[in-house]
């Protein structure tokens, strides 16, 4: 899966800047998307393109359990967030609704990848290739069931093994 990077080189990007509270009443996902990241980067909506990835630091998605956060990013066109670590509720929301891939990375990827770089995420090899800089980084593999939920296309399409 290839995409271009929008980089926020900071830790603790919280759910309230990803989608501020006043928009939790909005049920139209297209409208929700127009407010994604509004609390942090008012230009996000004008610069994001379908298929882009976000790159950020530690504890991405901390705070509220609002599923509106991954929904707003997903409907903006974001297919994956690459971060040094994730707040766990955000991580599960992203996976459960198949909104976007939460990819845990190491410092080599965080430091090596720049704004605008084109990267290729290869889940089967647990690798991220930086096509712009011709570098390769490891990503942390998904646990088995998380991988299966992702492969199924979300929690409600996942059928637990009968064994």
């Amino acid at each position: 899966m290839k995409g271009n990077i929008i980089k926020y080189a900071q830790d603790n990007i919280d759910t309230d800047v990803i989608i501020p509270g006043q928009y939790l009443k909005v049920h139209d996902y297209a409208e929700l998307a127009t407010h994604a990241m509004e609390g942090l980067d008012p230009n996000f909506h004008s610069k994001v393109k379908n298929g882009d990835f976000i790159l950020s630091g530690k504890n991405f998605g901390c705070g509220s359990s609002r599923e509106h956060a991954p929904i707003a990013l997903s409907h903006s066109g974001i297919k994956a967030v690459l971060a040094l670590s994730f707040a766990r509720i955000f991580y599960r929301n992203a996976v459960d609704g198949a909104f976007l891939l939460p990819i845990e990375i190491e410092h080599d990827a965080y430091d090596g990848i720049s704004e605008g770089d084109e990267v290729d995420i290869d889940i089967s090899a647990n690798e991220i290739k930086n096509l712009t800089k011709n570098q390769t980084y490891k990503m942390k593999p998904f646990s088995e069931i998380i991988g299966k939920i992702i492969a199924a296309g979300g929690l409600f399409k996942y059928k637990p093994d009968q064994d």
């Binding site: 309230d16 006043q22 049920h27 504890n59």
Partner: protein, 471 residues
Amino acid sequence: MGKTLFEKIWESHVVVEKPNNPSLIYIDRHLIHEVTSPQAFDGLRMNNRKVRRPDLTIATMDHNVPTNDRSLPILDQTSAIQIQTLEKNCKDFGITLFDINSPNQGIVHVIGPQLGITLPGSTIVCGDSHTSTHGAFGALALGIGTSDVEHVLASQTIWLEKPKPFEIKIKGKRKNPHAVTAKDIVLSIIKNIGTGGGTGTVIEYRGEGIEDLSMEQRMTICNMSIEAGARAGLIAPDEKTFDYLRGRKYTPKNYESLVEEWREYLKTDNDATFEKQFTLHIDDIAPQVSWGTNPGMTCDVTESVPFPDEFAHGDPNQEKGAEKALNYMNLKPGTPIEDIKIDRVFIGSCTNARLEDLIEASKVVRGQKISPSVRAMVVPGSQMVKKQAEEMGLDKIFIDANFEWREAGCSMCLGMNPDILSPGERCASTSNRNFEGRQGTGGRTHLVSPVMAAAAAIKGHFVDVRKMDLN
């Protein structure tokens, strides 16, 4: 080898478990509210599913509800629709709802324990991150997103990666327990371990500093576990826990025999091991005030706003974060905390809007007037708290001091109902999050205890509440 309290609750609720994978966990109680449930019910209808256990599901409305006169219509159309939708969903699926006119309405994490819905040793979920509050009763209580809400409605289970047990020991005794509160203990913890310090763990709070606390104070501690990134926070139940829950609306009929079992079983064994540990000594801790834009950016009221490099200890992202926070908060490093003037005061939220919080704050306010430059409000956590406070005459103390005395709800904790800050306004708030825009776009939040908020309302700036007479 012995087991931790968390492991005992986990093991008694596992439906499916495979090594190195999420487990399927049975849920004893599901609390729902108007904001994170509508899409879940839509999903059930689309797939022609029922609610598996409507008898274990309880609903209320708290996030959106205005906190002014309840006889007035709700002006915000989208809020009104969310509230009507919850009413319809509860009716269609047979779920008990405490609606806006119910005497049991309130913030979901305040009413759960008050109604005896929250029980030791149980698993509780809610589509709200502050579900961790219920851990004060020795319940495993988790915040979940809307997909998981739908999963629990349909199956009464969730898939969950097993968190690691994290021991936080609170040692010592506070010298002035009226001025140095549970809020100051939990803010001190987060200041030390950071907002990601508990990621992937369930915290068990232990030690004499926890045993000394009342149930309401313990709820304040567990409430903010999520602000340290933890999946949940727990405190082993004791006689205070059992006494609190006796005789409430939903307390089980066989309560006394349950208490006997809980007394024996619901504690961490002496030879159990935790994967992570932290100890906080509270003998000398001061009232806390947050200066930045996450709860870890907190200092003593006696200190000054830190310089970003001294805060960061060499971590470039932390330094950048602190610079950005100070810019947003419009604060200069080196400014004494007590010199920071405030415009608004909010005493409320699932962290600090219980009866004890209001009693303690009223001791600061009694016979005084708030600063003329401050607008201050008290929003009780539930209609039951409001009624109890009014029976004690607390409403009069606050109203006489020029506080607004309002109806129960989440109010100004999260900026999605009419109670919000205007851009640039600075607020002393007893809530849990000081994120950018949390209390309204451009609003600036300082997290404090109820007594610190009350003192700031009187003086118009932060003040060390230990200097005031609180008896």
